[in-house]
């Protein structure tokens, strides 16, 4: 009985704390409302995509530290976790807009999460700047969603051009069919490559599912067809295993991929076998020439003790796009901010100069990298529109 009472007391007190903090928070905010501008940060901080969300949160926090003010007012970040879940993403986006009254939203990692928020920002007329949501559908038919990253079609096309330039005549595609990102890349790679090298130059398209471990059936089939290169966009773990197993089977053809490969785990899992692969990404520190990028690199190392990833850089840029929009609009009217963001032109960010096109997607170049001696190395730069 005593145990029960203690538990009941605990339960009651935790709920009471919840209620108190809730009220306390809103009272405090009400007092300062006049001199802060709220920016919603909409990221998966728990759940499947938490790793990516955390890296992006670092970028946004750093950006906020270096650019804390706009229109002479302090920018306050309202961080909201969307739990890597679509229903939660929709609720939390509505919460940021209705309860926290944010003027602009930055995020999210993961296209499906951004798509779930799409309708909400559109209806509420509050602009959102995506960080690394690469699915073209995020900004299609939505005037209020923008993004800092290049989209799947561009990345697929870039790799197709690269493969053709390096002399590949026939290629095979192995895609992670349950991953929207991989499917998008593969589709546009195929279109672009067949345009360059003629129809039938993509000799095989094989599928695998997220979480697959054994690729020998697909690879044996592909080995028999002897392609010049293999395009294999997908999750880094599966991709690394795929490359490893291909080398064990004696496939010598170079592997090409997308920006998901740029993680330490890819090298850890793949080891020696992933040496020499090529993939596109948004950012490389050696190629980062803008003053903003230098500042970002310096501060990032100081703040977080480690190499910044492309995700952090993109999130940093997304924040800058949002802040620049507010500055240009010189108003807290969200529709005016939206128009100002849509007109973003040659904005200097970490990943180069950003200009948004009519869909709200940035026109910017891609970096092609490889793995050499267990490290990512810069290989090439592809300018936008090529």
């Amino acid at each position: 009985m005593k145990f029960k009472k203690i538990l009941a007391a605990l339960l009651a007190s935790s709920l009471a704390i919840g209620a108190l903090t809730g009220c306390g928070g809103s009272k405090k905010e009400a007092g300062k409302d006049g001199d802060v501008i709220k920016v919603g940060v909409f990221l998966p901080l728990t759940g499947d995509n938490a790793a990516g969300g955390e890296l992006e949160l670092r970028g946004i926090k750093l950006a906020n530290k270096l650019h804390p003010k706009v229109m002479g007012k302090k920018v306050e970040l309202v961080v909201a976790d969307n739990k890597s879940d679509k229903a939660e993403a929709a609720s939390v986006a509505a919460r940021l807009i209705e309860k926290d009254k944010v003027k602009v939203i930055v995020g999210s990692y993961g296209s499906s999460l951004s798509m779930a928020a799409g309708n909400i920002v559109k209806e509420a007329k509050v602009p959102a700047v995506g960080t690394s949501c690469t699915n073209p559908q995020v900004t299609a038919n939505n005037d209020y969603y923008f993004r800092a990253c290049f989209i799947d079609p561009f990345q697929g096309t870039v790799m197709a051009n690269y493969a053709f330039k390096k002399g590949a005549k026939k290629v095979a595609i192995i895609q992670e069919v349950s991953n929207d990102y991989a499917v998008g890349l593969a589709k546009f790679f195929k279109d672009a490559f067949e345009k360059l090298a003629g129809p039938g130059s993509v000799i095989e398209t094989a599928n695998y599912q997220t979480g697959d471990k054994d690729f020998s059936a697909i690879l044996t089939n592909i080995k028999a067809k002897n392609p010049d290169a293999i395009f294999a966009p997908g999750n880094f773990t599966e991709s690394a295993l795929l490359v490893k197993q291909a080398r064990q089977l004696g496939i010598k053809a170079p592997f090409l991929g997308g920006d998901t490969w740029e993680t330490q785990e890819f090298i850890d899992v793949g080891g020696k076998d992933v040496e020499g692969v090529a993939f596109s990404t948004a950012f490389d520190r050696e190629k980062a020439t803008t003053p903003e990028a230098k500042k970002f690199l310096e501060e990032y190392v100081k703040e977080y003790k480690g190499e910044p990833s492309a995700l952090s850089a993109l999130a940093y840029d997304a924040y800058l796009i949002a802040i620049n929009g507010i500055e240009k609009a010189n108003s807290l009217d969200t529709v005016k901010i939206r128009d100002a963001i849509a007109a973003t032109k040659d904005m200097e960010g970490v990943t180069g100069k950003t200009t948004l096109d009519k869909n709200g997607d940035p026109i910017k170049g891609a970096v092609i990298k490889t793995v050499k001696d267990g490290k990512f190395k810069y290989l090439d730069f592809v300018a936008p529109g090529k």
């Binding site: 538990l7 919840g18 809730g22 609720s91 209705e98 499906s112 779930a116 349950s178 929207d180």
Partner: protein, 354 residues
């Protein structure tokens, strides 16, 4: 209380709640409405899951798959034809269905019927299994449904998902759908079918000896459950305006398992309560995710994800106190309510805890 009196009270309550949903729709902002709508939709799916798991005693875990069917029928058939090219940008939509656009209500019911039909097909081999084996088999089937959806790109747009589904963040309609589900399942459970379901739950052999056709009743429960899960899935798709196969991972089923276990396996009002507690409760706890400064000191514990810890602790406490869920197999009754109003503390005394 007389039976007639209770019926009148119930109808009055429904009318009051409907009026309330009207008020909510006008007076509340879209965030609150969204949470309430999500509660109602989860209540539909929780109720549907309770039909097999709670009342018939068959431990089936296929709800996410049936939801996916309902959601995809709505997704595929209600996107305006002129927007379809921009949605199906990778693989063009199959010409068979490219120009078919159904009204929302027809797509919703169609989704429910498709889910029930698939449940009928799955039911034949699967319902012969019991306990854990049934759970594993239904879980497997729900994954199969998801993987078929992922690979049938020309119908479902595969992993890319569908967006631009006409949205419905309107509490009135969703309330009506929930009320219909609630009334239908209440009537079902109190009919001879419902009594047969409960008999199967208590003892299959005894039930069969009493002349209950086990297979027929299990299959019926499974199909009804799938039908409402399909409707719930369709509403879910319309609330979000977008679907993709990753929504319907088997982990989604556990969400509803949590709702019915917390609410009470075999209690209709318990499922409603469970849905509200889980959905709105998690939203309410979001204050724990926000940074907190006490006396000028930033308490590091208050960071994104902390509410999940609190929620888990609360769940454990709930399970310790009410081992059969909040309602157990009991229902909300007018007699019980009157008793509660007269002696609010008595219910705590009566409840024997381990």
């Amino acid at each position: 209380m007389a039976k007639k009196q209770k019926l009148i009270l119930t109808i009055l309550l429904l009318i009051v709640l409907f009026a309330l949903s009207w008020v909510v729709n006008i007076a509340m902002d879209s965030y609150v409405r969204r949470i309430i709508n999500l509660c109602l939709i989860y209540a539909i799916i929780g109720l549907s899951m309770n039909v097999t798991n709670g009342f018939t005693g068959q431990f089936a875990l296929g709800q996410a798959g049936f939801m996916a069917l309902g959601a995809y029928v709505v997704g595929v058939f209600t996107v305006p034809v002129k927007l379809r090219a921009s949605v199906f940008y990778a693989v063009p939509m199959n010409p068979l269905i490219a120009n078919i656009q159904l009204p929302v209500w027809a797509a919703l019911i169609g989704g429910g019927i498709l889910a029930a039909f698939v449940a009928f097909l799955i039911g034949a081999p699967v319902l012969r299994l019991k306990g854990d084996y049934l759970a594993i088999a239904t879980l497997g089937f729900s994954e199969i449904i998801r993987i078929v959806i992922t690979n049938a790109s020309s119908f479902t747009n595969g992993a890319l998902g569908i967006k631009d589904i006409p949205t419905l963040n309107d509490t009135r309609y969703i309330f009506v759908a929930t009320a219909i589900t609630f009334i239908f399942i209440s009537l079902l459970i109190n009919s001879s079918y419902g009594r047969a379901f409960k008999a199967i739950r208590e003892d299959e052999i005894a039930a069969e000896a009493m002349g209950i056709d086990l297979y027929k009743h299990k299959c019926l429960a499974f199909m009804i459950s799938a039908f409402f899960a399909g409707i719930g899935g369709g509403l879910y798709a319309m609330l979000l305006g977008t679907v993709d196969p990753k929504n319907f991972l088997f982990t989604l089923t556990y969400n509803f398992l949590l709702i019915i276990v917390l609410g009470g396996m075999g209690s209709i009002t318990g499922s409603m309560l469970g849905a509200i507690v889980v959905t709105a409760g998690l939203e309410y706890l979001r204050v724990f995710d926000e940074p907190l400064e006490l006396f000028g000191v930033n308490i590091p514990l208050f960071r994104p994800g902390f509410r999940m810890v609190i929620f888990s602790i609360l769940l454990m406490i709930c399970v310790l106190f009410w081992r059969h869920g909040i309602m157990g197999t009991k229902e909300f009754t007018w007699d019980g309510a009157r008793e509660f109003v007269k002696h609010p503390l008595r219910m705590f005394h009566r409840k024997g805890v381990a």
